[in-house]
Amino acid sequence: MSVRFLHSADWQLGMTRHFLSGEAQARFSQARIDAIRTLGRLAGETGASFIVVSGDVFETNQVSPQTVRRALDALRSVPVPVFLLPGNHDPLDAGSVFRAPTFAGGRPSHVAVLEDATPHAVPGAPGVEVVGAPWFSKRPLTDLVAAACEGLGPTPGVRRVLVAHGATDDLIALDNPAAIRLAAAERALAEDRISYLALGDRHSTTSVGSSGRIWYAGAPEPTDYDELDAGNALLVELRDDGRCEVTKHHTGLWRFDRERFDLDGEDGLDVLAGWLDRLAPKDRTIVKLTLVGTVSLSANARLEALLEHERDLFAAIERWERHTELVVRPDDDDFGDLRLSGFAAEALARLRADASGTGPEADTARDALALLVRFASAAGAAS
């Protein structure tokens, strides 16, 4: 009898993103709670018998009780057993959130925490055992997967899902004692001591090794720009014929986008405006812009106005290293219409000289120039 389950990981509940405003942060947090319900629905739709979560359920052990309660509330809506693994963000140490009264007292009965390597039978899924390799501290000194496998012998008729967390040794330096040794894990798979290794830690959905049975599920909602393929859950089917099929389901509603724009040309700003315009849904999109090139004062003013406008629409628009990459250089066009004379012309010339340099003094001089353009235009219009 084949068995299906959902593999998720890295919920990181309670994560705060500093670039989000209060309102956006609240929606961002809510989206990650909602992802739990999404998983529950997905389990119902796909016929999954249970869900394993491979670590980092919580962003930290020191999350607020509010976050814990909301997570528990969402978990209650999940119709199948859920196995939660303590990861490096929420290790099972003395301060563990899983042992704190709020979680321990509010945990629904179908939710289990994998506190050790004892195999758990799964209600409603005979012949399946879930085994955990929990983190007991932020800095384990052994390969937890290997340690968990050591105690497991091949048992005919039982398929084991090993739930673990951390980087595999093909991804991180070998001198990390906690690295998951891929070779050992694959040997355990080959020896049928385990049937699937459900990993967490990478927020991008990733298959590791050649067995097709070792996967990073990825985070259900993206959390950062550098995630290649986040926002998924894996539907895993361990079939009677011994094969393992893994299907990726997209769950994420938010997106992180990082893009570089060269504003040098005539239409540089238009390209940026068009790109921003096409992004959707804007209120769930977080954008980091790398702007390069040299712009005049007036172009820069238009750029600022554009971003001001778009910021109201997007969850967040960040600018990356603005000062070093985008050079604002006042040019003659900025002042051509002013036709200033006398001392004002002299002051303008001096400010332009100062603005041509770099550093905070030059920045201030550019700001002053922008002001001068604004005020002088107004004065010219009035006279």
Partner: protein, 881 residues
């Protein structure tokens, strides 16, 4: 710009007038009031500012009142490269005609013409400056609005002089705006304003964040600590097992050693008991020996005491004999001393007697002398008392006598006197009495009543006196009577008797004084009671002497005098002293003998007592020893001691063997090992308990803070802090930009103004020297107005200057401006009847100034006082009528 010619027609009161001005230099237009001088300035304004079609009030105002004709103005103008004739007629048949001759001929009319002129003017001159440089009547005292003018061609000229480019209204508005914006962010003293709440917000958020970070670090530390404690406990539990086994092993070994210890203790107790028995037997033997030795010693003592008693008897007897002899010698010495003292007393009594008797004789003599003196005193007092003439009486008599003498002298003087002179030796009879006169001798006689002078044998002459002076005769009588009376009252006959009596009285008084002194001398003083004392002393001496001889012991003869008696008394007293000395020596000897006797007698008694005691002791000891030997014979005691000594030796050997057996087991080392092992185990248990307690504390803390949501709150705090910081950064950026802009503008403007100020000030000063003298200096402000004038080192603000000086400075300022712009054509300076407040000397100087200015620009002066501008050199004068 230069105006070469102006023609007015139908303009106010002017029907048709044409005036040509000097192209360069000064033109003085002279004319009475209302002849139309000021109309020229007005006409120029209208010509250039108004369209010919205008119906403005100011244009209507210039229409002549007496005829219906349009006012018309025509000028020849040179400005920049242009030269043109420009004419306008207003209100009636209005028209505008422009004829440009340079640089290219051009003819325009109507609005086109107007606009072309405006264009040319705008290109070549500045109306603002033109207005500023004109002074209308009544406006001469202030300073022209050169601040405004500075933005026009004056400004340009000044800018060129200063090497900068000009500013205009746009620049001014820009500056004001920059200033306003600056004021929003910065105080006048350059302190930021409005950013305090932002900074406070950053600080607050940072404080919140710091607090949360600290709590988080504490939680992280506790988590680590818990893990460490767990590991430590596991290690301890593991290490504790082997230590406990070692304790069990050491305890078994220790129990075996304890058995050996108990055995040794038993044997040592037996040895102690045997030692007690042996010691007691030895003590009994020693006690017997001691009793025997003590008896022998006691007998020896008794024998010594007995010998002492016997040896004391002879010396006691001899001491007693010496004592008796000394007593007899003392009695003898005492009797001898008493005899000698009696003899001494007798001799001293004789001395006293003889001295008293001598004193009595002296005192008796003095009493006799005293009686004699008292008698003499009485005589003297009687003599003094019996003599009636005292000093006062004598003086009264003498006075009366002198009066009589005076009266007699007066009488005598009043009588005739006769002088008989002898021519040879002769004897004359005067009243019958012969008087022998030698040759040359003379006899003078006063004549009382009658005088007869007779030279016997030769002549007889009678001289009779006249009646004389009755008052003088009476005074003589009175004096004689006074003298008689006073003598009678005193009781003497005459002055001589009185003198004698007075001498006698003085002698009696001297005798009285002498006797009184004598009495005092005899009594030894004049205090009362002296006489009684003398009598008492006589009585005392009498008592001392009376009866002594009868009572005296007649053993020795009475010495002859006091000296002998004293010698005898001294001898007797010396003998008595020697006798006393002998008596004292005898007493000392007697006392020593008696002391020695008492001492020896006491010692003899003591020795007897000691002998008694010694004899009793011997008896007691003999009895005791005897009793003891009766009870236990000496031999029995010796046997018992030998047996006990043997038993002790045996017990000692057994104990030594047991001790050796115990030592071979090393009990100290075994105990030390066991104690140490137990301590190790105890320490581990203690440490374990400590770890458990620590862990409980850590977990309690974690329970307390584990659900504070610290990490989330920290992340939120970071966001809030960053937001606050960004807000502050934005504020700072805005504020900095505004400051930067304002400061840049202000610096540039200040520099430009400063550049204007210099040339203007220099030009005004150089003109001013002509008027005020070489020491003048003026200060020109940033607004290009004269601030003050300094003359001979005294600086006066412009407003405080005299009206005339202000007016002159105003004119000079305009001229200075015109001169500064003259090189590019500039504009004419039109002065309308100014300098009304200047005195003649200043007028002359101002004339020179105008001439100076006229050399480089066109100056047009309108006046109705031709004299006022007579002294403008080189001026073209035009008189209107």
């Amino acid at each position: 710009m230069r105006i070469l010619r102006i023609r007015l027609r139908n303009f106010r009161g002017v029907e048709d007038r044409e005036v040509s001005f000097a192209r360069d230099g000064v033109t003085v237009v002279i004319g009475p009031n209302e002849v139309g001088k000021s109309s020229m300035a007005e006409a120029l304004d209208l010509l250039f500012s108004q369209l010919d079609s205008t119906t403005k009030a100011e244009v209507k105002a210039v229409k002549p009142v007496d005829r219906d004709a349009g006012p018309e103005v025509e000028v020849d103008v040179e400005t920049g490269p242009y030269a043109f004739t420009y004419r306008k007629r207003f209100l009636r048949a209005s028209e505008t005609v422009l004829q440009i001759t340079r640089p290219r001929p051009e003819s325009l009319t109507g609005r086109q013409a107007h606009e072309r002129v405006e264009q040319i003017l705008a290109e070549t001159m500045d109306a603002t400056l033109w207005k500023a440089l004109r002074i209308r009547q009544g406006e001469g005292l202030g300073q022209a609005a050169l601040g405004e003018a500075a933005s026009g061609s004056l400004g340009q000229a000044l800018d060129r002089a200063a090497g900068t480019v000009p500013e205009g209204p746009v620049e001014t508005t820009l500056f004001d705006r920059a200033r306003t914006e600056y004021d929003l962010y910065w105080t006048p003293t350059g302190k930021s304003k409005g950013d305090w709440p932002l900074r406070e917000a950053v600080n607050q958020q940072q404080a919140v964040l710091d607090g949360l970070e600290q709590q988080l670090r504490a939680v992280a530390a506790d988590v680590e600590r818990d893990a460490d404690l767990m590991a430590e406990r596991a290690r301890l539990v593991e290490a504790k097992g082997p230590e406990e086994a070692r304790v069990a092993e050491l305890e078994a070994r220790w129990r075996a050693i304890e058995g050996l210890v108990r055995n040794l203790e038993r044997l040592e107790a037996a040895e102690s008991a045997a030692r007690v028995t042996a010691e007691r037997a030895a003590e009994a033997c020693l006690g017997r020996d001691a009793a025997v030795r003590e008896l022998v010693a006691s007998v020896g003592e008794r024998d010594r005491q007995r010998a002492a008693v016997e040896a004391a008897a002879p010396s006691l007897a001899s001491a007693r004999a010496r004592c008796e002899v000394a007593g007899a010698r003392l009695a003898e010495a005492r009797a001898a001393r008493e005899t000698a003292e009696a003899a001494g007393r007798s001799a001293r009594g004789d001395v006293e007697f003889l001295r008293a008797r001598q004193a009595l004789a002296e005192l008796t003599d003095r009493r006799a002398s005293l009686a004699a003196a008292r008698a003499a005193l009485a005589d003297a007092e009687a003599a003094a008392g019996s003599t009636p003439v005292d000093e006062a009486a004598l003086e009264a008599i003498r006075a009366a006598d002198r009066e009589l003498q005076v009266a007699h002298a007066l009488l005598e003087a009043g009588r005739p006197s006769v002088v008989v002179t002898a021519l040879r030796d002769v004897t004359v009879l005067l009243d019958g009495a012969p008087v022998a006169l030698p040759l040359g001798g003379a006899e003078r006689r006063s004549v009382e009543a009658r005088l007869v002078v007779e030279v016997p044998g030769l002549l007889r002459m009678e001289v009779a006196a006249g009646a004389g002076d009755a008052a003088v005769a009476e005074r003589v009588e009175t004096a004689e009577r006074g003298l008689r009376d006073v003598c009678r009252r005193v009781g003497v006959g005459d002055l001589a008797a009185a003198e004698t009596a007075a001498v006698a009285r003085r002698e009696a008084l001297a005798a009285r004084t002498e006797q009184r002194r004598r009495i005092v001398e005899l009594l030894g003083g004049d205090e009362p009671g002296r006489a009684e004392q003398l009598e008492a002393r006589i009585a005392l001496a009498e008592r001392r002497t009376s009866g002594y001889l009868e009572a005296r012991d007649a053993e020795s003869p009475m010495p002859g005098d006091e000296e002998a008696a004293t010698g005898r008394a001294d001898l007797a007293e010396a003998a008595a002293d020697a006798a006393r000395t002998s008596e004292a020596a005898a007493e000392r000897e007697d006392r020593a003998a008696r002391d020695r006797l008492v001492e020896l007698d006491g010692a003899a008694r003591e020795a007897a007592v000691r002998l008694d005691i010694a004899e009793a002791d011997v008896a007691a000891r003999e009895q005791a020893l005897h009793g003891a030997r009766e009870a236990v014979p000496d031999a029995t005691l010796a046997d018992a001691r030998a047996a006990a000594t043997a038993a002790l030796d045996a017990a000692g050997r057994e104990a030594a063997e047991a001790r050796a057996a115990l030592e071979s087991e090393g009990p100290d080392a075994a105990k030390a090992l066991l104690d140490n092992a137990r301590l190790v185990v105890d320490g581990m248990a203690e440490r374990l308990r400590g770890l458990e307690i620590s862990q409980a504390e850590v977990r309690a803390r974690l329970r307390d803070h584990g659900e504070d949501g610290l990490a989330e709150r920290r992340d939120q705090a970071v966001t809030a802090r960053d937001a606050a910081a960004a807000e502050l950064a934005r504020w700072t950026q805005r504020a900095d930009a505004r400051r930067r802009l304002y400061e840049a503008l202000k610096t540039a403007r200040d520099e430009a103004h400063l550049a204007y100020v210099g040339p203007l000030r220099d030009k005004i000063t150089s003109l001013g020297k002509v008027v005020f003298g070489p020491t003048v200096a003026v200060e020109v402000g940033d607004d290009l107005r004269v601030r003050s004038r300094t003359l001979d080192g005294r600086t006066v603000p412009f407003e405080s200057l005299s009206v005339g000086a202000r007016e002159q400075l105003g004119v000079m300022t305009r001229l200075a401006c015109a001169m500064l712009v003259a090189q590019d054509g500039g504009v004419p300076v039109m002065l309308d009847d100014t300098l009304g407040f200047s005195d003649p000397r200043r007028l002359e100087a101002m004339g020179a100034v105008l001439a100076l200015a006229g050399a480089s620009c066109q100056v047009i002066v309108l006046t109705c006082y031709p004299d006022r501008y007579r002294q403008v050199g080189g001026a073209r004068s035009i008189t209107l009528s």
